[in-house]
């Protein structure tokens, strides 16, 4: 909300500099987001208020005039091109050297006077644009009549306009008076309320119109007044200036008064042309099915029975609390005004404005909740102003329909509750001072406060609401910093999260960069990595209102995100890349929240970096990916089994399912080159996926432990010929299961070879064997015997023979 300091000062004295004022307001009332200083560049000596004494034609130019102005030092002649300059006006007048906005370039520059068409000019009569107030350069700025001749303009109309963000439950702060009340409370200054006096004619308002509320649940109160003898015209400069400073466009004096009072009090008002109200009656009621109304913005609105309408004898004339109808609009032919000031159910206004996609200054206020007693207050203020600026003659009395006035709530606040919530004591004098300043009624007996909030604060309903009022005005800086006391809650075991975080940090340790990508993706990207017959993943959950079409679906696989990220980085990365993300797959569940399945997905590929004095394979390959998996699993204290697998989007023959014990825990593979190419990846790229739920289940409660043996192990390397189709894991499985009198045997494969020297259809696997006895040092003879037994077993089970 725009908060002009000059307007605020009508109600409360403020002598703080803008920065200090903004801080005080932000600390206790609402957030000041910034402020604009009006008249920052107006030199008090050079830019002043003047009066136009006379306007005469320019001898040499049709479009120019000679204005005689008085700036307090006698008549002076200036050349002026503005069509609206007229004798009797107060205007802004600049003399040589004043800093002004150049009408053509829009930049600040110093005024240099020169003769125009042969006539010397003593100064310049200024437009809004030259003063930096707006882009309006059509005519000169006409000042309010009460500006003193010769006064510095900055004193007359200079201002600071604060931009304030207020709260969703505080309609009162959307009124400058409401704001002033808060400022008065925090600065200790008295509040001056606006003039609400007006004269009343002989006729009574209820002779003009009757009000019947047919939907009292939606319309809590409806007040109507009648003003005769309206002279519709532009409102006076001071009112226009204030409306503009507050961000509203002046329309005419009647509409401007309704807007002015709304800005002032926070209570929306609406003016009807009384002569267009049919049947001299007002009936707030629900819309009937199929009813329509063309609103003031010229849009025909389709209404439904949940919406509250203001109707006359024939039908709707306004969408209650949101916008009036064109059929009863105030116009130049209006002479009698029916002024509506009502109170509506906040939720109903919000629902209707959401449904109609129509937010207005009125609806923004009503939906926050306004006290019903603000209606007559705003009526009185508006009647005062209509009499003042539209020559109106108010009829006597208000037509006030208020079916069920609620008693003011009384809130019981024990003093002890203040300390219980805040941790400090606020003494009772301070409690009474703060609450009274905010307009609350407060009595105290035996350490209990009985508090009645003022009618403009329907948001205050509970003792703790009052505690907030107290502490924000008392000052949060008075709150000390203390430490939580009491027992700590019991720790819940979170095994999955522990595994996930361990894997995450270890993956980074293994050279993978963590990425975090958008969890919403497109159906097209998902279809590249998800099999069309994958029940869980091919029909992802969709957003109804995605931020962009490429973020429509909650991803059921992280693979697309990782591959896209890999491809994007490949544009500027030459070396090998290793990326991973820890996230969830959102798997649809019928009529319930989706299952958020936690996974790690990693991709890697590309050229190794140049290695000093060390040879190596040129590109990362499947075994780099698998090695990473093995390291991650080893870190968790388990060993994985890798078996050939075929899966959508992964290259057959280069894909392994990973299992630990009985649990399938992931996959490691080369991404199918066609799929990689669909992401613009033109090199082999490999993928790892680990699934935390089964992985966590597969972990032993405690990892296996055995003390290191006191006896040395015996080592033997040997090469075996096996059928080419025999996986190395089969060999290792046999060796691991081989029992030889208390000697444990372990083995690693360190080479695979096919080609010269190896018969066709076979391959050679080189093994490093280690023999370990728990009770003795193994001798050469022991080892030979065990090895021979093992070789016989391998020959029997797998057809393996010792390679010569």
């Amino acid at each position: 909300m725009k908060l002009p300091l000059s307007w605020l000062r009508d109600y409360v004295d403020i002598d703080l500099p803008p920065g200090e004022f903004a801080k005080r307001v932000t600390d206790a009332i609402a957030e000041v987001e910034g402020w604009e200083v009006i008249g920052e560049h107006w030199d008090p000596e050079l830019v002043r208020v003047a009066e136009v004494l006379a306007v005469d034609p320019h001898p040499n130019a049709d479009r120019l005039v000679l204005a005689t102005v008085n700036v307090g030092e006698g008549p002076r002649t200036v050349v002026c091109g503005a069509p609206n300059v007229a004798a009797g006006q107060k205007i802004a007048f600049a003399t040589e050297g004043a800093m002004l906005v150049d009408g053509h370039t829009g930049k600040l520059s110093r005024l240099k006077l020169r003769a125009i068409r042969g006539v010397d000019s003593a100064g310049m009569v200024l437009s809004e644009k030259e003063l930096g107030l707006s882009d309006d350069h059509e005519g000169i700025l006409v000042l309010p009549q009460d500006c003193a001749i010769g006064a510095p303009l900055v004193e007359a109309i200079g201002d600071v306009v604060f931009d304030v963000s207020t709260w969703a439950n505080r309609a009162d702060l959307l009124g400058i008076l409401g704001f002033a009340r808060e400022v008065a409370a925090i600065t200790g200054q008295p509040l001056r309320e606006p003039d609400r006096s007006y004269s009343q004619s002989d006729r009574r308002a209820d002779e003009f119109v009757s009000v019947t509320i047919e939907a009292p649940d939606l319309c809590r109160r409806f007040t109507a007044s009648i003003i005769e003898g309206i002279e519709l015209r532009p409102s006076p400069p001071w009112m226009q200036q204030r409306l503009m400073r507050a961000g509203m466009r002046p329309i005419n004096n009647v509409v401007d008064v309704t807007n002015y009072v709304m800005l002032e009090t926070g209570q929306p008002l609406h003016a009807f042309d009384y002569d267009l109200v049919r049947g001299a009656e007002i009936r707030p009621r629900r819309a009937r099915p199929g009813e329509t109304l063309t609103t003031l913005d010229d849009v025909e609105r389709e209404l439904d029975p949940d919406m509250l309408m203001i109707c006359d004898g024939d039908g709707p004339v306004a969408v209650a609390g949101i916008m009036g109808g064109g059929n009863s609009e105030v116009s130049e032919s209006t002479s009698t005004v029916l002024l509506e000031v009502a109170n509506f159910h906040p939720g109903s206004i919000r629902r209707t404005s959401t449904q109609l996609r129509l937010r207005s200054e009125a609806s923004l206020r009503f939906e926050k909740g306004i006290g019903p007693d603000l209606a007559p207050y705003a009526q009185e203020r508006a009647l005062h102003l209509l009499e003042l600026v539209a020559s109106g003659r108010p009829a006597a009395g208000l037509v006030d329909s208020f079916p069920t006035p609620l008693p003011s709530p009384r809130i019981t606040l024990p003093a002890a509750r203040i300390e219980q919530v805040l941790g400090i004591v606020i003494d009772s004098a301070e409690v009474r001072r703060i609450l009274s300043a905010l307009g609350f009624d407060v009595t105290e007996s035996r350490d209990v406060f009985e508090v009645t909030p003022p009618f403009w604060r329907p948001d205050v309903a509970l003792p703790d609401d009052i505690i907030e009022e107290l502490i924000r005005v008392h000052g949060y800086e008075k709150l000390p910093t203390t430490v939580l006391r009491g027992a700590l809650p019991e720790a819940q075991p979170r095994p999955l999260e522990r595994v996930r975080e361990q894997v995450r940090s270890h993956a980074a340790g293994l050279g993978f960069h963590e990425v975090i990508s958008y969890t919403l993706t497109s159906g097209e990207v998902l279809s590249r990595v998800v099999a069309p017959d994958d029940e869980d993943r091919a029909k992802p959950v969709a957003a109804a209102n995605p931020v962009a079409s490429q973020h429509t679906y909650l991803r059921t696989s992280l693979r697309g995100s990782l591959l896209a990220t890999y491809a994007a980085n490949r544009h500027h990365e030459d070396a090998a890349m290793r990326l991973f993300e820890v996230g969830v797959e959102y798997l649809p569940t019928e009529a319930d929240l989706p299952h958020e399945r936690p996974v790690l997905c990693a991709v890697l590929g590309g050229q190794r970096l140049e290695r000093w004095e060390r040879p190596g394979p040129e590109r990362l390959d499947f075994f780099d990916a698998k090695g990473a998996v093995e390291a991650l699993l080893d870190d968790l204290g388990v060993e994985g089994a890798f078996t050939p697998e075929e899966e959508y989007a992964l290259l057959a023959g280069h894909t392994a399912a990973i299992s630990v014990g009985e649990e399938a825990v992931g996959v490691v593979a080369q991404v199918h080159p066609d799929v990689a190419a669909s992401f613009d990846i033109e090199e082999p790229v490999f993928l790892v996926e680990l699934w935390f739920e089964p992985l966590t289940r597969a972990l032993p409660e405690r990892p296996d432990y055995a003390p290191p043996s006191r006896y040395p192990e015996a080592r033997r390397d040997l090469a075996l010929l096996v059928p080419a189709a025999t996986p190395a894991s089969a060999l290792l499985e046999v060796i691991r299961s081989h029992r030889a009198r208390g000697v444990s045997i372990s083995a690693d494969v360190f080479d695979e070879y096919r080609g010269e020297g190896v018969p066709a259809g076979q391959k050679s696997l080189a093994l490093a064997l280690r023999f370990q006895a728990g009770d003795r040092t193994l001798g050469e003879k022991d080892v030979v015997r065990i090895e021979q037994g093992l070789l016989r077993r391998l020959e029997q089970d797998l057809g393996a023979t010792l390679r010569a």
């Binding site: 801080k23 939906e367 800086e477 006391r485 990425v515």
Partner: protein, 351 residues
């Protein structure tokens, strides 16, 4: 074989001359085998031949030969020692490395800056006894809004522009992408009894256009403490410790008034600007105010305490929510929030 004293002298001369010529390790080893070898070293054979010498000469000769052996062993060791020293000197001089050549590249990964920041925040609160809890990202509207006192027709809904899930349940849109981690206040209290002291990290989503300070996907950490005797001053103390841990030990904090439907009183917390230290300059980080807003917080609304089945006259609580991206941006001076989820390695490598 018998030996004379004269022969001993000439053996010495010959052996030492040969040793001087043995320049490398292999030649020194050959010299050792030739002279001192256990089987057939020339001196070994002479020593073994002592038994054939004339008995009156045997003692003197034996002494000379053993002296010669000691000398040769000593000289060999000295020769080896000097050769090693020469080799090391050559390694340092002739084979000196160009240490300015690049190191052999190691593959080094990093955690995402959001993860790093989250971990630091979690650690800061964990030290104060907060446990971690996690909740779903796709959430029931009733948890995200209604249960935290933001009914359907309340303007506070405007504070959170929502991405809704397209699925209808019982003919209604009931699911959404959580707009904040606050629904977990309810989830935690439903599942446990006081004392409650949890933090809830996680992703949140907003239906809003992105710019340098707004992202539609964001990461939050929610805090909740409910127990007998939890006071707003404890909230201030907790956040004070957090601010100092994350932003530096000399940080100051202030609270100012704010509104969130699920807390009462509600505040925003700001820290003093550690960039300009409130020097009055036109600081980009704090807009010259000297204060940087960090998070929203407050005392848990008594209705929420009651809805959890706790007695609000006995139990009080506080809650807060921190935007992790904002913390990360402040820590590292990151100018644009959109960097985080672009995942450009040139960005990610810097943290």
């Amino acid at each position: 074989m018998s030996t004379t004293e004269a022969e001993v002298d000439s053996l010495r001369a010959e052996a030492l001359e040969a040793l001087a010529r043995a320049g490398n390790e292999a030649e020194q080893e050959a010299w050792r085998a030739n002279w001192l070898g256990r089987k057939d070293g020339r001196l070994t054979l002479r020593l073994r031949g002592l038994k054939d010498a004339a008995p009156e000469q045997r003692a003197a000769l034996g002494k000379s030969l053993n002296q010669l052996k000691t000398t040769l062993e000593y000289e060999l060791e000295a020769r080896r020692e000097s050769a090693r020293a020469d080799a090391l000197a050559a390694l340092s001089a002739d084979a000196a490395l160009d240490v300015s050549l690049p190191g052999r590249p190691q593959s080094l990964g990093r955690l995402h800056p959001v993860t790093q920041t989250m971990n630091d925040c979690i650690d800061a609160f964990a030290e104060m006894g907060f446990r971690v809890f996690e909740g779903p990202e796709v959430e029931w509207s009733r948890y995200n809004f209604d249960a935290v006192r933001i009914p359907d027709d309340h303007p506070a809904r405007d504070m959170w522009d929502t991405i809704w899930i397209d699925t209808l349940i019982e003919g209604e849109r009931q699911l959404l992408l959580r707009t904040h981690t606050s629904p977990n206040q309810i989830r935690v209290m439903e599942q446990s009894e006081p004392p409650v002291r949890v933090i809830v990290p996680g992703k949140c989503y907003r239906q809003e256009a992105t710019d340098a300070t707004h992202e539609w996907m964001l990461t939050q950490i929610e805090g909740l403490a409910v127990d007998e005797g939890v006071r707003m001053s404890d909230l201030k103390g907790t956040l004070y410790a957090f601010a100092r841990r994350i932003f530096g030990g000399d940080r100051q904090i202030i609270f100012h008034h704010s509104y969130f439907p699920f807390v009462e009183p509600g505040v925003e917390m700001a820290i003093d600007c550690f960039i300009c230290r409130a020097d009055g300059s036109d600081c980009r980080t704090c807009q010259g105010t000297g204060w940087i807003e960090i998070l929203g917080a407050g005392m848990v609304h008594p209705e929420i305490i009651e809805n959890a089945g706790y007695d609000s006259s006995k139990y009080t609580g506080f809650a807060f929510g921190v935007g992790i991206e904002r913390v990360a941006m402040l820590r590292w001076g990151i100018e644009d929030i959109r960097h985080f989820y672009q995942n450009d390695l040139r960005f990610l490598r810097q943290f």
